[in-house]
């Protein structure tokens, strides 16, 4: 139409059409990155609005007036989020528009609940968990920006497979070093520098391990799946194929068992098994792995005192409601108090539950936002995981596919372990809900995962464009 109307008499040739910039623009426009990023911005602003509204409601309910406690750090976080959005526009314009706003939504909901608990405990200033959480959130989002800017293309990570694996194990070992290692709540998974700065290196190690698994498995998947002796109907890989993987993984596991961190060991185990399965398609190994884990877990529950206690609490939380299972029982009471619609923000008693702001933030939210609120939160997680798995489906290179689905599965598994633990679906193991719970290291690692997923999704969606432009 446009050609006809602009009055040129030149005949249209196939050659010309193929290279025509107009057509290229049209095809590019079809993928509509601008529209998608507009959607991302709109959703991000909505998430921020939800957070601000929640804080205002909490202020009005508990203090009867709107305060400015969270204003400086909150503004910092919002600025960081917007900066991330504009970084995505520059570096990954074709990225999935849902991933970042969902993470932001969960993050602000978590901050609001932590703020509400601070008010109940009378914490303020830098001693308040919510203020620290906001600072950490800003740091985490900046870390995501740095990851985006530094890596740009995820294929870079494929090059450093073994280095990342080594780095993961070294990070895991850090807390064992005297001087900087610290034991908090019975688990030695922290490093502490000075009085106020503490960090869980295992959180970062989780991502590095996922990168290592993805790289190693993509390189060796064929020999892993095809070569090897058959035993009991399951073909087992040769030692030299599986060996390095097992070495890294066993090192990670033994460190964690040593550090008494049940939740994280469970998480790493799940990560390892799921990626092994996705790469090789060998279901027999998974059944074997899960079986071994159940046997090991049962044995640990019989022999190790701290594992046994969790097991007993899981089976019967009302056996010792004032001591061993005090937290569990209080969490259940809190959720029951919330019921379907919740008590409303600021009107329940989540502060009655120990660690309500970290391990038990899900029951805290359940109490004040109700079953409906928890459904929304779980749906947000499911959507986030779904977008991650979708990158896995649509990805063009095996490394990217494996990494995206591994990272997405980690989030899903972590949510399952946390929510399943507090609702007595499985024994409680002490992990924190991604983005929601108070804790800097977890925020940083999860926002880095978001950055990686954004990069991966960008590479999936911009491929047709690159092909056309070439």
């Amino acid at each position: 139409m446009s050609n006809a109307s602009n009055g040129t008499s030149e005949p249209r040739t196939f050659e010309k059409t193929r290279t025509s910039e107009t057509v290229l623009q049209r095809i590019t426009a079809l993928r509509a990155p601008r529209l998608l990023l507009g959607l991302e911005l709109a959703l991000l602003l909505l998430a921020i609005a939800v957070g601000v509204a929640a804080v205002v409601i909490i202020d009005l309910t508990i203090q009867g007036k709107v305060t400015t406690t969270l204003l400086p750090t909150g503004a910092l976080f919002i600025a960081a989020l917007l900066a991330l959005h504009f970084t995505i526009r520059r570096i990954a314009p074709d990225a999935d528009p849902l991933i970042m706003p969902i993470a932001a939504f969960l993050n602000v909901i978590g901050v609001a609940m932590i703020y509400r608990l601070d008010l109940a405990k009378g914490l303020s200033g830098w001693g308040a968990d919510s203020v620290r959480q906001l600072v950490w959130s800003a740091v985490a989002v900046v870390a995501a920006i740095v990851v985006l800017a530094l890596i740009r293309n995820h294929i870079v990570l494929f090059r450093y497979t073994y280095l990342t694996g080594l780095a993961a194990v070294l990070l895991l070992l850090l807390p064992m070093l005297p001087g900087i290692g610290a034991t908090i709540n019975g688990a030695r998974v922290w490093i502490r520098i000075g009085e106020s700065f503490s960090f869980q290196p295992g959180e970062i190690a989780k991502i590095l391990l996922a990168i290592f698994f993805a790289g190693y498995l993509v390189r060796n998947r064929d020999s892993l799946a095809m070569v090897g002796k058959k035993l009991l109907g399951i073909r087992f890989p040769r030692g030299r194929d599986l060996g390095p993987l097992l070495v890294f993984w066993l090192a990670a596991m033994s460190v964690l068992v040593f550090q008494r961190d049940l939740g994280t060991s469970l998480l790493y185990f799940g990560l390892f098994l799921s990626m092994l399965y996705i790469a090789t398609g060998r279901i027999g190994w998974i059944i074997l792995g899960v079986g071994l884990f159940l046997v090991g877990g049962l044995a640990a529950s019989q022999t190790l005192e701290y594992v046994n206690r969790r097991f007993v609490n899981w089976l019967d939380p009302f056996a010792d409601p004032f001591n061993a299972s005090h937290q569990m029982v209080q969490g259940l009471f809190g959720m029951a108090n919330g019921g379907m619609t919740g008590t409303g923000l600021g009107q329940g008693y989540p502060e009655d539950t120990p660690l309500a702001q970290s391990d038990y933030i899900i029951p805290s939210l359940g109490e004040e936002l109700g079953l409906i609120g928890l459904f929304v939160i779980l749906a947000a997680y499911l959507l986030l995981v779904g977008r991650g798995l979708r990158i896995g489906f649509a990805g063009q290179d095996d490394f990217g596919k494996l990494l995206a689905s591994g990272l997405a599965f980690t989030i899903a598994l972590q949510v399952f372990i946390v929510v399943g633990g507090v609702t007595r679906l499985i024994p409680l193991t002490g992990l924190t809900a991604p983005f929601l719970a108070a804790g800097g290291s977890s925020l940083v690692s999860n926002w880095i995962i978001i950055a990686l997923l954004i990069l991966l999704s960008n590479s999936v969606r911009n491929r047709p464009k690159l092909v056309i432009r070439a």
Binding site: S274, F375, F409, F416
Partner: protein, 493 residues
């Protein structure tokens, strides 16, 4: 790789479905149960925040909340407090919650599932939350008569009255009583001091003797169950005759059983079952029980509600009637001694069951739950608890009980112009460490009118007779007069 991803996606979905399921189980399915858990401090805290519903007797509030300026927002008041204390219990900030205040807390504080939509509407409309009111089945005249009769004589004990056809509890009195206002103020120091004083009181006013106090030996009122079991099983009729000695040596034992009169039962060479009930003789009843299977009487007791967990919805201590191990124990158990122990409510249920043609209705003290906008949220309808005996057996036992009033020991419960059925009981409580006889427990149970029973009553007077009182004023006198007064209060309406 996509095949594996598809499976992984399914696994992820399954995991999330399990999570949706488990949070629903806690927050929707089990929420009420968790809220009602006695360890749940959140439920108590919640009930401070709302204007708690009232407890009503015949439409008038006897427990209600009035607003205050302090941090509790409301204070709980009881008027008249002491008369209804065994029913209402108390609602205290530092000493817990008892009675209906505890048993109906979800309704009174408006946090039960039934009030779910009311809560949502209130939240949307900005209406301050308010609990529902609980209408009791108590008849104020019966309750007042029961409390007054016990208090005037200074008796320690309890009175329970039931409407036989419905199981509605008309009176539930425990003596001595206390004023729940002492434990429900908003001053914790006062409450703690008052509680300590009530708790130390040797007369134990906090004890709910009607349903939850120490259990009592039923003495002769238990003979109603022996007679019911024997007639139901065809072992005897009211005219069946028994040997009539003045003393009975129990088998394989040196113990000797006597009748209360210390003589034979009546003047004849033989005594009938009816005579034994009317004159409350021990020996014929023991002979009858030993003739029967030793499990027969305990089984009949269980059919009437013994050994069962019961809530009305106040928790009732189960009455016990263990299986006797030999003939001597069978004989002693049959006259309500040895290990047989009962609550006054249980004895009232026995009378009510007989009055109701052999059908025991589940007793209840709650009639309706009424929302703040005066809608009936719950209406408690009569529920059959058991049918231990046939109408024929019930009529036979009723006949003997009526004769007990017209010409026997229960004569003091006779009401002019009304056919009354009654049975007295005197339970020995053994001897103290020094070998002196302990005071007796005195009983009366009965119902009226015989042709259309409106009320069944059980009265117990602790330490009411025996040596301490010079053996004056036995069961045929003191508790029987109380029972008559309570029945009259209802029948004169």
């Amino acid at each position: 790789m996509n095949k594996q991803l598809k499976f992984t996606t399914r696994v992820v979905f399954t995991m999330f479905i399990a999570l949706f399921f488990s949070v629903t189980m806690i927050q929707f399915v089990n929420a009420d149960e968790l809220r009602a858990n006695e360890l749940n401090s959140r439920t108590v805290k919640n009930s401070y925040k709302v204007e708690r519903g009232s407890i009503l007797v015949d439409g008038d509030p006897i427990a209600y909340s009035t607003p205050t300026d302090d941090s509790f927002s409301f204070v709980r008041q009881y008027d008249p407090g002491s008369i209804y204390a065994p029913i209402t219990g108390y609602f205290s900030h530092s000493q817990g919650v008892t009675g209906l205040e505890s048993a109906m807390n979800l309704e009174l504080s408006g946090s039960g599932n039934a009030q779910f939509f009311t809560r949502i509407m209130n939240t949307l409309n900005g209406v301050a939350p308010q609990g529902s009111s609980v209408q009791t089945t108590i008849n104020p005249k019966a309750q007042e008569a029961a409390v007054a009769a016990m208090a005037e004589e200074g008796f320690t004990g309890a009175v329970v009255a039931i409407e036989p056809k419905t199981g509605r509890i008309l009176a539930l009195a425990s003596s001595p009583t206390f004023d729940p206002n002492l434990l429900s103020s908003n001053n914790n120091a006062d409450i703690i001091a008052n509680y300590a004083q009530l708790d130390k009181d040797p007369e134990q006013p906090l004890q709910n003797r009607a349903i939850a106090g120490d259990l009592y030996h039923p003495g002769s009122v238990y003979k109603l169950l022996v007679a019911a079991a024997a007639i139901e099983d065809g072992e005897a009729t009211p005219t069946t005759e028994f040997a009539n000695p003045a003393q009975l040596t129990l088998p394989q034992s040196t113990s000797v059983m006597q009748n209360a009169s210390r003589t034979t039962c009546g003047t004849g060479a033989k005594a009938t079952l009816e005579q034994a009930i009317v004159m409350s003789c021990n020996i014929p009843i023991a002979e009858l029980a030993m003739k029967m299977d030793r499990g027969a009487v305990p089984e009949m007791a269980r059919a009437f509600g013994f050994e069962q967990e019961l809530t009305v919805p106040l928790a009732v201590t189960p009455s016990v009637s263990p299986l006797p191990e030999d003939q001597a124990q069978t004989a002693l158990s049959s006259i309500g001694q040895l290990d047989v122990r009962v609550t006054p409510l249980q004895i009232a249920m026995v009378s009510a069951g007989i009055a109701n043609g052999g059908t025991v209705m589940k007793p209840t003290v709650v009639d309706q739950v009424i929302t703040p906008d005066l809608r009936v949220e719950t209406q408690v309808s009569p529920v059959e608890l058991s049918k231990p005996i046939s109408k024929k057996t019930a009529d036979a036992v009723t006949g003997m009980m009526e004769k007990g009033v017209t010409e026997g020991l229960a004569a003091k419960s006779a009401i002019e112009g009304v056919r009354v059925a009654g049975k007295t009981g005197t339970a020995e409580n053994g001897t103290d460490a020094a070998g002196n006889d302990l005071p007796f427990t005195l009983w009366y149970t009965g119902f009226a009118p015989v042709d259309d029973p409106k009320i069944a009553v059980a009265v117990v007077v602790e330490d009411g007779g025996g040596e301490a009182y010079g053996y004056l004023g036995g069961s045929y006198d003191l508790p029987t007069a109380v029972g008559k007064r309570v029945m009259e209060a209802v029948l004169s309406e």
